[in-house]
């Protein structure tokens, strides 16, 4: 059965009906995204693979609880992955040097292309180029706080301590960065 034309939400409904083939199709579609995100949070391949396995197992177990009106499937997966990976970081009590962290460390340019689904690979590449172009338009100080929050799971207060910045400055930079990213990515006006 070719699931390539089945949309994400239908796949989740099929998974909720205990169809392993549907889970396999969802895995094929998003395993790279999940694993790569986990790897760029924990920086350890074995841990990132365990997290990937856990995330898709959770999808299998919790598919019936997914609410399509609440978020896209991809957002659900990214949220689960990021939270799980940051939990791992916190349990490991990984030390972060806030002064040296940058987006370049998180996102080296080389991106292996997928061989199994060229259309999906192309879409992924376009998404990557788009988000990287948006991030590149952020001032370095805004990029720094976004990296610490997104990939290291730091709170405002923790970022302020790591970077020796006032708490208010950190809050402002993070808010402005996310607002700018939203404008650049979705070209919509956000009221504040």
């Amino acid at each position: 059965m070719n699931y390539s034309t089945v949309d994400d939400q239908t796949l989740i409904k099929l998974i909720a009906q205990a169809m392993p083939d549907a889970l396999e199709a969802l895995y094929q579609r998003y395993h790279r995204l999940v694993f790569s995100l986990a790897l760029n949070v924990v920086f350890e391949k074995t841990a990132a693979e365990e997290i990937t396995l856990d995330i898709f197992t959770k999808v299998w177990e919790k598919a019936a609880t997914y609410q399509p009106e609440r978020a896209q499937v991809k957002t659900w997966l990214v949220t689960l992955t990021r939270n799980r990976a940051i939990d791992w970081l916190r349990r490991q009590q990984v030390r972060v040097d806030g002064s040296s962290i940058s987006w370049a460390q998180i996102s080296p340019e080389n991106t292996p292309a997928s061989a199994d689904n060229p259309a999906h690979a192309t879409e992924t590449k376009l998404r990557q180029e788009r988000i990287r172009a948006a991030v590149a338009q952020l001032p370095p100080e805004q990029q720094q706080v976004v990296v610490l929050a997104y990939f290291k799971g730091r709170t405002h207060r923790e970022i302020a301590e790591l970077t020796n910045l006032p708490l208010g400055t950190v809050k402002t930079r993070l808010r402005l960065a996310m607002q700018k990213l939203h404008r650049l990515l979705f070209d919509e006006h956000m009221s504040v």
């Binding site: 059965m1 034309t5 089945v6 949309d7 239908t10 409904k13 909720a16 009906q17 205990a18 169809m19 392993p20 083939d21 889970l23 395993h31 790279r32 995204l33 995100l37 760029n40 391949k45 990132a48 693979e49 990937t52 396995l53 898709f56 197992t57 299998w60 177990e61 019936a64 896209q72 957002t75 990021r82 940051i86 996102s107 340019e109 080389n110 991106t111 292996p112 998404r127 990557q128 788009r130 988000i131 990287r132 948006a134 991030v135 976004v146 929050a149 709170t155 405002h156 207060r157 809050k171 993070l174 808010r175 996310m178 990213l181 939203h182 990515l185 919509e188 956000m190 009221s191 504040v192």
Partner: protein, 242 residues
């Protein structure tokens, strides 16, 4: 912490998990009651999703997929079986819509027709060939005199093991009765699912008998006491053969 009516300023940080515990809980409580801020939340969750693509996309080892599929196919892995009432109506319509394009007026009718056509062709073939492995199968379920307007389809997954039953135009039953699917082989009937239908006679249930569905030669649905019976006791309403 803002005293404004809305908390949109804090939502980007909330999405990233950058708020302290008390602040995050306060925002969560506010979001439960504020549709405007929930919409803002959705917007920033989209940004959060896109940020995941800044990570270079690399492959985990093949063992991850092997372990995952071994887990979900293992007998002791609980599979999600939502109550029928929690399934949105037409969920399987949407699934069937995607699987059987173009969309006809009645999806089940088309599935029935396709199954009948396939069955007639197969029956008439001079040399009967088994359905190629790895392909999803459907079996039309036709209404009996007890439910002449009823229609249904058994869907058997590509691995031949699991599947689902989808029915339409079956009369809703009172709370002391339910419909029960029977899997038939050599005259012996094994229970496949017990389910109810909604007020429009639509129902769907997963079928996981613990052995390949392709082992069975026929399927039937009867009216039984709520919770099911060890063997058929009530009227047969739908039936079909593999």
């Amino acid at each position: 912490m803002t005293k404004d009516l809305h908390v949109t300023d804090l939502i980007p940080a909330y999405v990233l998990g950058a708020l302290d515990g008390d602040e995050a809980r306060w925002i969560a409580e506010h979001l439960a009651a504020c549709s405007v801020c929930r919409e803002t939340l959705v917007q920033y969750e989209m940004v959060m999703t896109e940020l995941a693509y800044t990570a270079p996309q690399t492959e985990p080892s093949p063992a991850v997929k092997q372990k995952l599929m071994a887990r979900v196919r293992a007998a002791d892995t609980p599979a999600p079986v939502p109550p029928i009432a929690s399934l949105p109506q037409n969920s399987w319509w949407n699934a069937l819509l995607t699987l059987f394009k173009p969309m006809p007026r009645s999806l089940i009718a088309t599935a029935v027709v396709l199954a009948i056509v396939a069955g007639v062709w197969w029956f008439a073939s001079p040399q009967k060939q088994p359905v190629p492995a790895g392909q999803m199968q459907t079996v039309a379920l036709l209404g009996t005199d007890a439910a002449p307007d009823a229609e249904g389809v058994m869907i058997i997954g590509a691995d031949g093991r699991d599947g689902a039953v989808v029915v339409e135009h079956l009369p809703p039953l009172d709370e002391t009765h339910q419909y029960q699917l029977w899997l038939i082989k050599n005259g012996k009937r094994t229970s496949g699912a017990v389910f109810s239908v909604d007020e429009e006679g639509y129902g769907v249930a997963p079928v996981r008998p613990g052995r390949p569905l392709t082992d069975f030669s026929a399927f039937g649905i009867t009216i039984e006491p709520a919770g099911g019976s060890p063997a058929p006791t009530g009227q047969k309403v739908l039936g079909g053969s593999l």
